[in-house]
């Protein structure tokens, strides 16, 4: 059994193994002249948690739309649970649960009616619908709200209901597009714990897209995507070792010490008002530095590589934090202008 998704040397070559939940082969997508996905290939192991990390506009949602059969690729192919997303749409859809980035609940129905609708549309018999609906509502702690109209729900409650709904028909693969934005920490932990359980017990595969670093730390495999291309893939630890940098944070005793260090180490970067951050990947260099300046430092701290720094070193920029606001503004404009 594979421990997580891995970079296959020849994705798509040979028969699809049952251990592979999702395989994507040389997928490309274009909007007009813009290439949104550029020859993307990846494989996701069954029962693993796979995270697509990238800024907004990187092509994550387009990839997800293709995998959930909402959009046809302009090149290449993809399979989910063994079914081709273009030629075997029915089978592909049956094995998927999807939580979209924007709410897709009917806010004039009650929570229960939304679940009932989902169960019917997925062809579930009455008894199973009732049992599963009650179970998933309990999972997201919305039992007390089952007969309330969704319009009165807060953003976080809608999100929870949507996750519950996606799990209702017991999918083999769950897509979460920017899943836990707007959820409080407690619920987030609870939902992830439950998803982990499902992965263990039922081999559920979870594919998440996000631009929040905190959300992917627990993933088996992280795939960093930017401008429609995969730029790195691996476990969080592997990515940190390969692409991250260790830093040494020091606070010199006084201004004289600070300028002395800055003179000796031109690669040092200012940190706060009095501190400095030095690249610390080279152990010998760090030892030499510490030996030389030991007496002139009041504080020394090693900073392990973070995914944020991995992303920074791979793309040369921060994940855009304000991307969400831009997205929402666009969405509002789209509604008014009636785009889409």
């Amino acid at each position: 059994m594979l421990s997580g998704g891995m970079i296959s040397p020849q994705p798509g070559a040979g028969p699809v193994s049952p251990a592979i939940a999702i395989s994507v082969d040389a997928l490309s997508a274009r909007y007009g002249v813009n290439t949104v996905l550029d020859n993307v290939s990846l494989e996701i192991a069954r029962g693993s948690s796979f995270a697509l990390l990238g800024p907004n506009g990187a092509g994550k949602t387009t990839l997800l739309n293709i995998l959930s059969t909402l959009r046809k690729p302009d090149g290449g192919s993809a399979r989910v649970a063994g079914a081709d997303v273009v030629r075997q749409q029915g089978e592909a859809r049956r094995s998927l649960g999807v939580v979209f980035q924007d709410s897709s609940l009917d806010d004039r129905l009650t929570a229960w009616e939304n679940l009932e609708f989902h169960g019917l549309v997925y062809g579930m018999p009455s008894r199973q619908r009732k049992e599963r609906s009650a179970a998933v509502l309990a999972l997201v702690e919305l039992e007390d709200w089952r007969d309330e109209i969704v319009r009165s729900f807060s953003g976080g409650m809608r999100r929870r209901l949507e996750i519950a709904r996606a799990l209702l028909h017991e999918p083999k693969i769950l897509f979460l597009d920017e899943p836990t934005a707007g959820l409080d920490a407690q619920t987030r932990v609870r939902i992830w714990r439950y998803l982990d359980e499902l992965r263990r017990d039922r081999d559920l595969t979870v594919l998440t897209t996000t631009h929040y670093i905190e959300e992917v730390e627990g993933a088996d495999t992280i795939c960093i995507i930017d401008h429609g291309k995969i730029i790195a893939q691996g476990s969080p630890e592997a990515l940190k070792t390969q692409h991250g940098h260790r830093w040494l944070h020091v606070i010199p005793r006084d201004a004289a010490a600070l300028s002395a260090i800055a003179a000796r180490r031109p690669d040092a970067q200012p940190l706060g008002a009095h501190g400095l951050a030095l690249p610390a990947d080279d152990g010998a260099e760090v030892d030499a530095f510490l030996a030389a300046f030991r007496d002139q430092l009041t504080e020394v701290q090693f900073q392990d590589p973070t995914l944020e720094s991995v992303f920074l070193s791979l793309t040369g920029r921060q994940l855009r934090d304000r991307a969400d606001d831009t997205h929402n503004a666009e969405k509002a404009a789209g509604r008014r202008g009636g785009r889409r």
Partner: protein, 270 residues
Amino acid sequence: MNRTMMALRGLYGVWLREITRATRDRAQLIGGISRPLIWLLILGVGLNPYFRGEVYGEVRFVIPFTYLQFLFPAVIVLNIMYTSIQFAVSVIWDREFGFLREVLVSPMPRWLILFGKVLGGATVATLHGALVLILARFADVTLSLEQVALALALMFTLAFGLTSFGVILAARVRSFEGFGVFSNTVILPLYFTSSSIFPLDPALTRAQQAVTYPEWLVFLVQINPITYAVDALRGVLINFNQFTPGWGIGIIVAMAVGFFLIAIIDFARQ
């Protein structure tokens, strides 16, 4: 067998959602009740004494009905037209607020989703049409059970066709605001030129007809499919046809099939 059951459940789910949403839409319900009251109580009662095929003091033709009886089937059609075409709003709503994706990623085939939606819309529209039937006694129309059943079947088929037409409109209209204006400019002209509120007497020769009504109006009435839907319903409810009786039913069925097929093509493109 199992596949069929699953498809039927899906169909029921989509249908049920439309019904549930309609029962929560107060504005639509109020419209469905007030419209026939206004048309029958005010226009119908008001014009009732003047309804005698008399032109410039000379009796040209005689219709053996009161104006209320003549108007009654047309008001049913009007109520169905409003509710059916307004159904496009539900389609636009689904698309703009993201709900559509929830059904599109489900295993239900697209045409079946659309079929369920149109069935739901047509059911609501038929019910709105049936509200008018309650006023039958008031309009001096006596109905047998058989007539009611036949009328309901025709009304449902008409509603199915017009609801599909609403879906076709929805695929071409991008915003709610645009649709409100648009629907009124479609519904009212179609209604007025359907011989709904004034009779055309086909017994008259072409020349005689042209004296009564200008030729362009007669032409508009004759090419308007709603004319024949109203006529079919008049045939069933007050036993009066201005045109060959079979035509109305034929055109209603043709609209249902034709518009639904176009709607499927439009919907599959989304």
